[in-house]
Symmetry: C2
Subunit: 328 residues, 2 copies
DNA sequence: ATGAAAGCGCTAACAC
DNA sequence: GTGTTAGCGCTTTCAT
């Protein structure tokens, strides 16, 4: 910058002014500076600027798995909006181990990001307390624990309830629940919705029909369920990751007659045979509302906004839960 | 930091030393400082540190579409490795318009990132010239244009050739090519491989069988192809995005008898009926080699490493290109 | 309209 | 083993 100033015969401050479109610069001076910038190929050092400002214009994003189509879509939506506001996004995958969450997230926070959007993995975000005073934190997909912050979550309990009831109404009486460990609290809510629905219609809780395990084990889990003395006639797969394993497993076993509902849409769900009934979460919208709230908090940290927002989840009925005859 | 120093009765530099595990500190002093840090809840300002160093320990990643399962997987692989090296990743989506590439990428570069991994969209990266002198830039998925840099690309031409030949050997004589505009150069290479294969076996180039258009239009495109006087008996879909549209389109038309090969694997490809033959690109590996090269360049900018690496693409034959009778 | 000085938080270089 | 000084590139404040 000094070089530019020298070359243009002005002070560093004037160069700075030109860059920031400060109106208090003569057109002529501006021109001289602009030329010098061109000639020297000068590029302002963003790092110095953000350092000075004490905040990087970067939105931090932490999700369990960047590769998950759902989160990938969320990230894309956030990126789009961030770009429009000259902000960058720093993304980090939390991975499977809840104990690593804190370390990974704090590594991000140390970078003085201007805000954080997080889909947490662990069941305690108390560690964020010390950061939230000067940093907007928005929770998505999952409620925060041991801390208050803005959150946008799906109606896990309600949607699971809807799906389970849907299967019951089709005549199913033995409905299995398959979950993984990707996101413990969310899974629990969905399990709760499932249980609640069964209770309401007076179906016994049959714990054998509840199978939790890593999504890679889907095939084994499905096989186990179907080998039960009283096998399920329907499966509620509690997230898209498991569904990606459950469907092929059913297919491999030649048991596509077993009804299936997936919590979370996934690519090709409608093209499979049978097409798969899903609870659609609308990742795009989730990302959008999260970044919008983040920007709103940045503008006015103390604005009184509804803290907890539950986004509706839509049941898209397809062939995998068609009204078919159910063996009793 | 001053506060901590004061409280511990030492100088700022000593605090810095403690943080950086400088061995030249008495155990006792170290303890006092550590205590003070705890008490004051002091968190070192990453921004100041990186500013001082002149480089942010951030890997920039620019891809056409963050939501694309392929790129999402690449990003995940990079993130994993970056985390292990205490680096963050700043991701940005290039979008559909090649003209916006430069602006979006330079916005990233201005942040003094320590390296860039880019899957470019436009056909001219000359604008990167001025940056490459102090910044390692790694191209993935696509060769750079008008600039030399490390690159890791798939064997687009060869794989397209393989797929086309594969279809020919199954007896197909009218093989359509469907492409989109997501990544122009890559598409062209694949088209070239397709044409080359057809030439070699002495098949006329029938331009009617080559359909380019946005992947959202897949249904219309497929319908158009099948409505030709001499419709294709096989389709080569030149990327996963289009395949995601082509398959459902074929299904909707009740024409799953038309053979299909997809350049790029996609979720559920093996569970569809018929399961879809794909050219698998191994996103995971691509991300890994890219970040590894980036780190190598960071360590030694002038190391002599093979600049252009072509990664093999594997043809995974499934039912959609089974040896079936082909109407002539 | 422009400039001079000071400082953001940190650390390398050099004392002591 | 510890402290002092200086400066990274920029912008805010206050002069001029």
């Amino acid at each position: 910058m000094q070089d530019v100033a020298l070359r243009a015969g002005v002070s560093a401050k004037t160069v700075s002014r030109v860059f920031n479109d400060d109106p208090h610069v003569t057109e002529e001076t501006r021109q001289r500076v602009t030329d010098a910038i061109k000639e020297l190929n000068y590029v302002p050092n963003m790092l110095a600027r953000t350092f000075r400002e004490g905040k990087a214009s970067v939105v931090g994003i932490a999700v369990p798995d960047i590769g998950d189509p759902f989160f990938a879509a969320v990230i894309r939506a956030i990126d789009r909006e961030a770009q429009a506001h000259d902000m960058a996004i720093a993304v980090t995958g939390l991975g499977d181990d809840p104990h690593r969450e804190r370390g990974i997230v704090e590594a991000l926070l140390r970078r003085q990001i201007s805000g954080l959007i997080i889909a947490p993995n662990s069941s305690d975000q108390g560690y964020l307390e010390r950061w939230t005073s000067n940093l907007p934190v928005i929770f998505i997909d999952r409620e925060p624990s041991n801390i208050t912050a803005d959150s946008f979550v799906e109606d896990d309990l309600g949607a699971a309830h809807t799906a389970t009831t849907h299967l019951f109404e089709l005549g199913h009486r033995r409905i299995a629940f398959i979950g993984d460990r990707g996101n413990i609290v969310t899974s629990e809510l969905r399990l709760k919705g499932y249980r609640m629905a069964l209770s309401e219609v007076g179906l016994d809780h049959n714990e054998d029909l509840i199978a939790l395990g890593p999504s890679e084990d889907a095939e084994r889990i499905v096989a186990g369920l179907l080998a039960l003395p009283s096998p399920p006639t329907a499966i509620f797969s509690s997230n898209a990751r498991t569904s990606l394993g459950v469907f092929p497993a059913l297919q491999a076993l030649g048991r596509t007659d077993v009804a299936l509902v997936s919590f979370g849409d996934f690519p090709m769900a409608s093209a499979l045979q049978p097409s798969v009934t899903v609870l659609d979460q609308d990742a795009e919208r989730l990302g959008r509302v999260a970044i919008e709230r983040l920007l709103a908090r940045l503008r006015d940290p103390d604005a009184s906004l509804q803290q907890r927002t539950v986004l509706p989840v839509e049941l898209i009925v397809r062939a995998s839960s068609a009204r078919i005859t159910v063996a009793s």
